[in-house]
């Protein structure tokens, strides 16, 4: 992983064990310790753009693809995956960024969405936990705006434990939120980046790309990448200019 070496893996705040750990990369996670494989991620994003939810969906699809059996695998029992997936929004998140729109969802996920419009953060957390306990869901995405009181460290911990116990991954999108205490295994800061110019019309917006910073993770050193989906796969590039300011790095 030579091209990741210039990512700020060995920043002075990290312990030595983290510095030796491999940098995160998309695709099946075979290198990290087992604890980092628990699907509980948190994505901080602005409510002025759809980047948070889109990035969480991209991570979820990446994980689904990693779990898919290869063409020669013996067990194709659960493939193609037709399990439903859950998208929970609290009222404020729904007002600020709108509802999921079926024609705009990824093709393989469109017809399998269960949407929950919760009136409050408490209800949204209830729905998320119930979703994590349901064995027939592929993954769960939550969108909660701000830092509600109900989303305490205990609530995060409950979600982590449920995700770990039942193996249903969760990505919690935090809109316009401060980086509070959390037990999420991977915490990201995501924002939209200029899209790759499409092949035919250079004036048109292209396939979406995001600038994502992994600022806290068990098992991986922090880093920042330019991520996008290319040929049906999530691909990470190092940032074009290494001197780009990375933003304030929290110790959380």
């Amino acid at each position: 992983m030579s091209h990741f070496t210039d990512s700020p893996a060995a920043s002075p705040g990290n312990s030595a064990s983290l510095a030796q750990a491999q940098a995160w990369r998309p695709g099946p996670d075979l290198t990290g310790p087992a604890s980092s494989n628990v699907g509980h991620g948190e994505v901080f994003a602005s409510a002025r753009e759809g980047a948070g939810a889109a990035f969480a969906l991209a991570l979820a699809q990446d994980r689904l693809r990693a779990g898919a059996p290869g063409p020669l695998a013996a067990s194709v029992r659960d493939w193609p995956d037709q399990r439903m997936w859950l998208w929970v929004q609290d009222k404020e998140a729904l007002r600020r960024t709108g509802r999921p729109y079926r024609p705009g969802l990824p093709r393989i996920l469109r017809h399998r969405l269960i949407h929950v419009a919760a009136a409050s953060a408490e209800d949204a957390l209830f729905a998320l936990e119930e979703g994590l306990r349901c064995r027939e869901l592929a993954f769960v995405i939550g969108e909660i705006a701000g830092n509600p009181k109900a989303l305490s460290f205990t609530a995060h911990r409950r979600l982590s434990l449920a995700a770990q116990r039942h193996g249903v991954p969760l990505w919690l999108v935090r809109l316009d939120a401060a980086r509070d205490l959390s037990s999420a295994r991977m915490r990201w800061q995501a924002q939209a980046a200029l899209s790759a110019p499409p092949r035919w019309n250079r004036q048109a917006p292209g396939a979406p790309r995001w600038r994502a910073e992994l600022f806290r993770s068990r098992g991986h050193p922090p880093g920042e990448w330019l991520l996008g989906e290319e040929e049906g796969k999530l691909v990470a590039h190092t940032l074009p200019a290494p001197n780009t300011p990375l933003g304030e790095r929290a110790i959380a």
């Binding site: 889109a54 960024t97 079926r102 705009g104 269960i114 349901c134 939209a192």
Partner: protein
């Protein structure tokens, strides 16, 4: 050979009105001309009239105004076809006292299968007398007939002699006890099978009018024009000719040949029997009225276990449950619950009710608790314990939906479905999660659509526009966006068959701003289109409707 009893309650609507008023026939209000009227698309028409009304000229089917000119004193009451049908359904169950199997013959008749039961009443004549007495006791006027087929019994009851009995065809009668020897006129030389030339059938049926075949009015008109007035006339014509005349008519009510064959028993005529279904019900009377929540939860759990036993015995699972709580002081509280999939798991049911019992006011105490399954569906396999299994293996999808709906309400837990519309916000509807999805046209892949759609489009202020009309800089929610790349327009016209004529067309643009944020904006209308605020057409407004990832 089957024996079928047909009961025609030829005055059902008036009899029900009289019973509701508590009148005997020809007494008080019934002595005056009275009619039951129905509101139709072409005004108020008479549905039924009593004897005095009929004599005064109130013929069913005429306009009320016409009848009033003949008889100004005609009193009216609203007719109640739905009530008549409900009454008839109950009567059909009651009529099973004469036979094991009964069916509705809407709007005013019943069919009872009395095969092999006549000897219990002392013969078919005695059976008819018993029916007549029982109906007279309920003050219902009826015409009765017994015949080997439902069609023949219907024809006799409506158009033949009241109380007519058509014996089985002679070939099958040899081994049967003769209930009515003096009327048995089958000749020994008659053809085999249900032959129409059996002369008893001929004598009783063939002089009936063709209307006795239960045909549609237009078919009756055709037959009358052909000069075929009686059933006997139909057999007189060569069958080929009739078959050719009615070759396109598949429905029995439109084809006299099919009806004739049904009447003579040559083709079967299936009908739907009436079966009584009772809702599973369990209840507990409590020795001591309960006022505390834990005790109530315990009782609900006990009831759910009772209900599970009842349902398991019938191979059913509950879809909709009703819990009734009777208080000492006479108040009744009911709580309803609907399940996404049939279930009879006591833990699941009592757990779902637990959320609905928080606001129950126990008052001086609850003395009776009753649980009813209003809607049940069959569940073949027995279920395990959902709650215990949920701890280890996770809950099933149906149980998960039930929990969410019980707390958040059915409108909060939904699934996007496609609708037939090209207007973006109308192209998506919301449906219950486990409902089957209606088939729909797939989405066009060349129409790029955003990941999220705002519930209502938000107006944006254009600060600087390029000459071709596309904004270069705009303000949305108090922040300025600089458009770097754009694609469009995609013109979406309003749905004129659905909207007012002043709705303007929309030009959609996919845009990306200087930070890479991608939005879906549109211009509402074009300048000078004569729509919008005034006749000239306001300057078009810009809106932001969707967000891309």
């Amino acid at each position: 050979m089957r024996r079928v009893l047909s009961i025609w309650l030829w005055r059902l609507a008036m009899d029900r009105w009289r019973l509701a008023q508590g009148l005997a026939e020809g007494e008080q209000a019934d002595a005056a001309p009275t009619a039951l009227v129905a509101e139709t698309a072409r005004g108020v028409r008479i549905a039924a009239a009593n004897a005095a009304g009929l004599a005064a000229g109130a013929i069913p089917g005429t306009m009320l105004a016409d009848a009033r000119t003949l008889c100004p004193s005609l009193a009216t009451a609203p007719s109640d076809p739905a009530g008549d049908l409900a009454f008839l359904e109950k009567l059909a169950l009651w009529a099973q006292r004469w036979g094991p199997w009964s069916a509705l013959d809407a709007p005013d008749g019943l069919i009872v299968d009395v095969t092999g039961v006549a000897h219990l009443f002392g013969g078919e004549e005695a059976l008819l007398a018993d029916v007549r007495a029982a109906l007279a006791q309920r003050r219902l006027a009826a015409r009765l007939a017994i015949a080997p087929t439902a069609g023949a019994a219907w024809a006799l009851a409506h158009y033949g002699r009241d109380g007519g009995i058509l014996p089985p065809p002679s070939s099958l009668r040899a081994g049967m006890p003769r209930s009515n020897p003096e009327r048995d006129g089958g000749s020994p030389g008659s053809p085999q099978g249900f032959a129409p030339r059996d002369d008893e059938i001929e004598r009783q049926l063939f002089h009936l009018p063709v209307a006795a075949l239960r045909l549609d009015d237009d078919v009756l008109l055709v037959l009358r024009r052909l000069g075929l007035k009686r059933l006997g006339d139909l057999t007189g014509v060569a069958r080929d000719a009739l078959a050719r005349r009615f070759r396109n008519r598949r429905a029995p009510a439109a084809n006299p040949l099919i009806r004739m064959d049904q009447l003579l028993g040559r083709v079967p005529e299936p009908s739907l029997p009436v079966i009584e279904v009772s809702a599973p019900l369990v209840q507990r009377r409590l020795m001591e009225p309960i006022r505390h929540r834990q005790l109530l939860d315990r009782v609900v759990m006990d009831l759910a276990q009772d209900m599970a036993r009842v349902l398991e015995g019938r191979g059913l699972g509950a879809r909709r449950l009703e819990l009734g709580l009777w208080r000492v002081d006479g108040e009744v509280a009911t709580r309803r619950l609907e399940l996404a999939a049939p279930s009879r798991d006591p833990g699941h049911i009592s757990g779902l009710f637990g959320r609905h019992l928080d606001d129950v006011d126990a008052g001086f105490g609850i003395e009776v608790v009753r649980l009813r399954s209003l809607w049940s569906e069959s569940v073949a396999l027995s279920q395990g314990d959902i709650e215990a299994a949920a701890e280890h293996h996770g809950t099933s999808l149906a149980a998960f939906i039930d929990r969410l709906v019980a707390r958040l309400g059915p409108r909060a837990v939904r699934r996007p479905v496609l609708r037939a519309s090209h207007v973006p916000e109308r192209a998506q509807g919301w449906a219950a999660v486990l409902e089957a999805e209606n088939s729909s046209q797939e989405i066009f892949e060349f129409h790029l659509r955003p990941l999220k759609l705002l519930d209502s489009p938000e107006a944006i202020a254009v600060l600087y526009a390029s000459p071709d009309g596309l904004p270069r800089r705009f303000r949305w929610r108090g922040e300025v966006h600089e458009i770097v790349r754009a694609e469009g327009p995609e013109r979406i016209a309003p749905e004129w068959w659905r909207e007012r004529s002043s709705v303007r067309l929309r030009d959609y643009y996919r845009i990306e701003d200087h930070e890479g944020r991608r939005y879906w904006i549109y211009r509402d209308g074009i300048a000078g289109d004569g729509r919008g605020g005034d006749s000239v057409g306001r300057a078009p407004d810009w809106f932001l409707q969707g967000l891309w990832g």
